[in-house]
């Protein structure tokens, strides 16, 4: 196993890209620009997954979000007239609640990160035991293995939920089935 190369540099770079992308998503008036910024954020997030030795999750993130869902987003956005959107005043009446919620979430993160209860650290350094070289196999056995498949039920229920959504979309879109 090779030692990781320039880990802090890549972490801060990806984190900065994510934060800037996230800010751009909500500040751009042009919806297509927002969507592109969101794609950048999602790709940087995939990079963070890679840094956490979870290449499978990173690959799925790229395929599903950046390559699949965002393309459909763009497909819809492109059909909207952008010119009218640009002239409209953007409004938001929940900024006060938004700030409180964001501050609360940030405070939670900071407390969790700094708390040590009775000498027990919340995030032990050696908590991660999954190797990069067999990440896919580990995830597969967590999901589907007869003995260690802890998450099989949750996984199947989630896929059932998606199936319901698909059927609902078809029912709503089609007049005659």
């Amino acid at each position: 196993m090779n030692p990781p190369v320039a880990t802090p540099f890549f972490f801060y770079m990806l984190a900065a890209v994510m934060i800037i992308g996230g800010i751009l998503v909500i500040t751009r008036k042009n919806a297509v620009h927002s969507a592109l910024a969101l794609i950048t954020t999602l790709l940087a997030q995939a990079g963070l997954y890679l840094m956490l030795y979870a290449p499978f999750v990173a690959g799925v993130q790229i395929i599903l979000y950046a390559g699949g869902i965002m393309v459909l987003f763009l497909f819809v956005i492109m059909l909207i007239s952008i010119e009218r959107n640009l002239k409209e005043r953007q409004f938001n009446k929940q900024w006060l609640i938004g700030i409180v919620a964001a501050a609360a979430l940030g405070g939670l993160f900071i407390t969790v990160y700094t708390t040590t209860t009775k000498g027990r650290v919340l995030f032990p350094e050696a908590g991660l035991s999954y190797g990069e070289s067999d990440n896919t196999q580990r995830i597969a056995s967590l999901l589907f293995d007869l003995h260690s498949g802890t998450y099989m039920f949750a996984f199947e229920i989630a896929s059932l939920l998606l199936l319901v959504a698909i059927i609902g979309a078809v029912v709503m879109a089609k007049k005659r089935i």
Partner: protein, 430 residues
Amino acid sequence: MHEFIQYILSYLDSDRTPGGAGNIFWATVYILLVFVGLSVAVICMNWLERKILAHMQVRLGPMRVGPHGLLQPIADAIKLLLKEDIIPAEADAIVFWIAPFIVVLAAFTVFVVVPFGPTHAITDMNIGILFMLGVSSLSVLGIVTAGWASNSHYPLIGALRSSAQMVSYEVAMGLAVVSAIMMTSLGSEGGTLSMIGIVQAQQAQGVWFIFKFFPLGLIAFGIFAIAMVAETNRAPFDLPEAESELTAGFHTEYSGFRWSLFFLAEYSAMIAVSSIAVTLWLGGWLRPFPNTLTGPTWELVFSLIPGITFLFLAGMCFYSTARMPKHPLFRIQTIGLAGFGVALAAIGLILFIQGVRVRIVDIFWFSAKVAGFMYLYIWYRGTFPRYRFDQLMKVGWKILLPTGLTLLILTAVVGMRTELWAQVQEVLHR
């Protein structure tokens, strides 16, 4: 300095990819080699496509620049680089500017995991095939943004078509790929997504996956072969740039250097998806019959083929040289063609050297298989008329998707049966 040389030499004994061994120097060398090799391949493809297509239509194709138009791609490249780079006034300048780079980045990044040989890959990832599918699916973003940013009707329609088409065919493509990945899990090794691992599984099982569980592997390969043409927006699925309906589709407003980036990306994406097909179904770098025709004699025979191929090409060049018109005006062209033949012959002779021969042979077989796919691409373009859009969607969703799903289930059933049968045999023999 001495340590640096030690560092460089230390990799040469390793039997891993430069990325796997963590050697930055050789990884950089491999990246440069792949980049240069790809660019040369794209240039060759440009010439070959025009020539082959011309001969299919009983034309001569480019004949003026260089002997038999050999220098035509270079002339084209110079023209493209010197052309004025126009950004339409009403276009979204930033997105217009970024779009070609997204396409090129996506098309070139996938080559990080393409296995040209057991050690001849930039790196080997645990998620190799997933990485290739994911990153190559990003190229649709570039096409869509290019079409939208042009702020013009034809590009927008091209972009809409391409997003619908690529998302639809990705589904069928994924199903075919999963069926091949399931085949890797048979036997003792256990399944893998790594590109090198997939080829090694084919070697261990002694069969290319196209012939595995006949005809299941063949059908999966067929689905992938159709879907990959649609993914790369090539004829007969070239609706995003259908020139008879949309001028040039999503890149109508592009010119000069930016247009050439789209061109480069299209061809390297074609090579990339062909590499996926070769790796998954055609045994990657494996030569024909690696398990039956063994022994030093066969090894020698098969390792001589790369050199013989180049000598044959050189022979063709010399034959054409002899057939050149004997007019003083054609003297330079004749000399040029003869020189080209000499260069090919020199490459062929270099490939006969023992040290080179052993290292190059897997790269040769991989490239030869990919070249076969490249020829198929040209052949399709010369043969099939373009699909109408509703026909395209029908093929994708109503034919390829159900076939792919059925195939997936059948492969699982047959694979399980094989595994169980092997276990029963084991128990009986005990």
